[in-house]
Amino acid sequence: MRTSPRDVQAGRQGGAGLRIIRSTPAGRIGLSALLTATAVLATLPSWAAPSVLRAWVVVLGLLSLASMWNLLAGFGGMVSIGQQAFVGIGAYSLLVLADDRGVDPFLAVPLAGLVAAAASLPVAAFVFRLRGGYFAVGTWVIAETVALAVLNNQALGAGNGRSLRAVGDYGIETRQHLTFWLALAIGVGAVLVVVVLLRTRLGLALQAVRDDEHGARALGIDVVRARLIVWVLAAGWTGMTGALIYLSLLRVQPEAAFNVQWTAFMIFIVVIGGVGNPAGPIVGTAVFYVLRDQLQDEGAWALIVLGSVAMAMAVLAPQGITGLLDRVRPVQLFPIRRSLWRGPAGDVRGGGRWPRRGLGRPPPGATAPS
């Protein structure tokens, strides 16, 4: 028999005052802070300078890319070094749809995401045969193959790439504002999609697989199916973000669009912020953007510093900044975990303090079910 989380939650009413709690004050604060920040940002076009808007498009694009990589690696266990394939596919889909097929460029962005999602299926047929480090390099090979195929395609502008002309139909101000709002939707949407997905049955399965793959398999979780769903979702959203980024840059070149640097950025952000924590990409994007901004006149040193910081984090603090904060005070900003509590019903004292992983460290007074 399949037991849904709801069944388990219903069980709290019977026996020994055991309750399963997911929503906490901290979680509610986290979500409302995100929504408030989004609402404030949405007013940005009416009072901020165009350069500020452009900077935010970059930040929100990076946040979206990093959130998807976090979902892939932190929850799906798939460390891909080839996500630039989908950035590039998204960018070129935007070009073809908007310029060659006459689709409205802003509508073409989500459509480009669908193209990338569709393209990720045959890719999965190859790379899902590989595991761990070989999966990582395998995805990289795919990305290089797609890049070389585009590089040899005259219709797509070969090595020179092409400029996006379709946005010329819009006035410059309208274009900037629409691009920003689209970026806001895609960036915040990426975080929300990850949180919502992790709260579903599939999310529970993914976290089980991450913690113990063999155990999860033994419990009847279809690991390949779970991974495939995450893979396609991440590819599609990454492709949509790629289209968004090039909607803002206006010129698509294969070497830039398919550059492994996209994936390097995703990795650095997630590693700095915290792998496997939906809040990690938010913290990581902030740190990454500030660091990069400080170092932008230093040429190659920017990447040397960012790479070194990410390496140091991966060795010394593998849970990233959010993991370090979690150690000081375990607060879960996005409610994706469930905790088992024993106490009189309705008593939520100490709410917001959480064990670091699942039932690993129950709060004081709580006992594990027998």
Binding site: I81, F126, R131, G133, Y134, G138, V275, G307
Partner: protein, 289 residues
């Protein structure tokens, strides 16, 4: 005849690629670590060799006496000092750390040597060749490279088979915990394996530098070629790696013969075809992926 020529040159090119692939094969076999900085370390070796040639005025082959031990030592220190802390814990962290290392190395080289391509001058050997037939010429350098690759693989096989340390390597690769229980210093073995991996890739880097020009961004391309050779040959098969390297070499030279832009593309496509049809590789044992 042009096709025969392309295939011949491809087989010889496979010798160079085998030098890159061997180290990747060792580090995965022993540590279960895919070193994403592998290609960049080869490029580093080429640049170090270039600097020595520049300072001391010696030939590039003489620099091998310095470059190979230096990278070997560096590999031991890298493993004991950094990678040991991540390898056993979680494969994800090993990938992240070596990827970070790759980016850092690439940009340090870019900062120090600029983006300009450099080459190593071996006094005419790089262009010298002899004729087999009227239309088929074989270069001395590619032949020498292939000879070195065969010697390295042969030496490595003998080392793994007949020496005490080689036996420890195989034991660690087969079953880390039991090897530790039997009193093998697994950390030392890991260090030695990384030293060997980097020493062979240093050899490859210098030969690459003599054969063609190189720039700081060349690393990832070499990593991918080495990786494809290992997978095509089959994990855990050293001589399979040589065959895999030759398959990639031939695919690239034949691809270049069809259309210059297709050289590397055809290499990737052949790799993907092998992955689709025979994921365990040509000489790999079934069930080991």
């Amino acid at each position: 005849m042009t096709w025969v020529n392309a295939v011949t040159q491809g087989i010889l090119l496979g010798g160079l690629y085998a030098l890159f692939a061997t180290g990747l094969s060792i580090s995965f076999g022993v540590m279960r670590l895919v070193n994403l900085a592998h290609g960049d370390l080869a490029v580093l070796a080429a640049f170090v060799s270039w600097s020595i040639v520049d300072r001391l005025g010696v030939g590039p082959f003489a620099t091998l006496a310095l470059v190979v031990p230096a990278l070997g030592l560096g590999g031991y220190l890298l493993q004991r000092g950094v990678l040991d802390f991540v390898v056993s814990a979680d494969p994800l962290r090993g990938i992240l750390v070596t990827f970070g290392l790759a980016v850092v190395l690439q940009n340090l080289l870019l900062e120090h040597y600029s983006a300009n391509a450099k080459g190593l001058d071996a006094g005419g050997l790089e262009t010298a060749s002899f004729r087999l037939t009227d239309q088929l010429a074989v270069g001395w350098l590619p032949l020498l490279t292939l000879g070195v690759a065969v010697a390295v693989l042969g030496g490595l096989s003998a080392f793994l088979r007949w020496t005490r340390t080689g036996r420890a390597f195989r034991a660690v690769a087969d079953d880390l915990r039991t090897a530790r229980l039997m009193g093998i210093d697994t950390r030392h073995v890991f260090g030695l394996a990384m030293a060997l991996a980097l020493a062979t890739v240093a050899l490859g880097g210098v030969f690459l530098g003599i054969r063609t020009t190189f720039s700081p961004g060349a690393g990832p391309g070499l990593l991918l070629v080495a990786f494809e050779a290992v997978i095509i040959g089959g994990l855990g098969s050293l001589w399979g790696t040589l065959v895999g390297a030759m398959v990639i070499g031939v695919a690239q030279t034949v691809g270049a013969q069809i259309e210059p832009g297709w050289s590397i593309l055809l290499g990737h496509l052949v790799f993907l075809a092998v992955l689709a049809v025979r994921p365990q590789g040509l000489f790999g044992r079934v069930g080991r992926t």
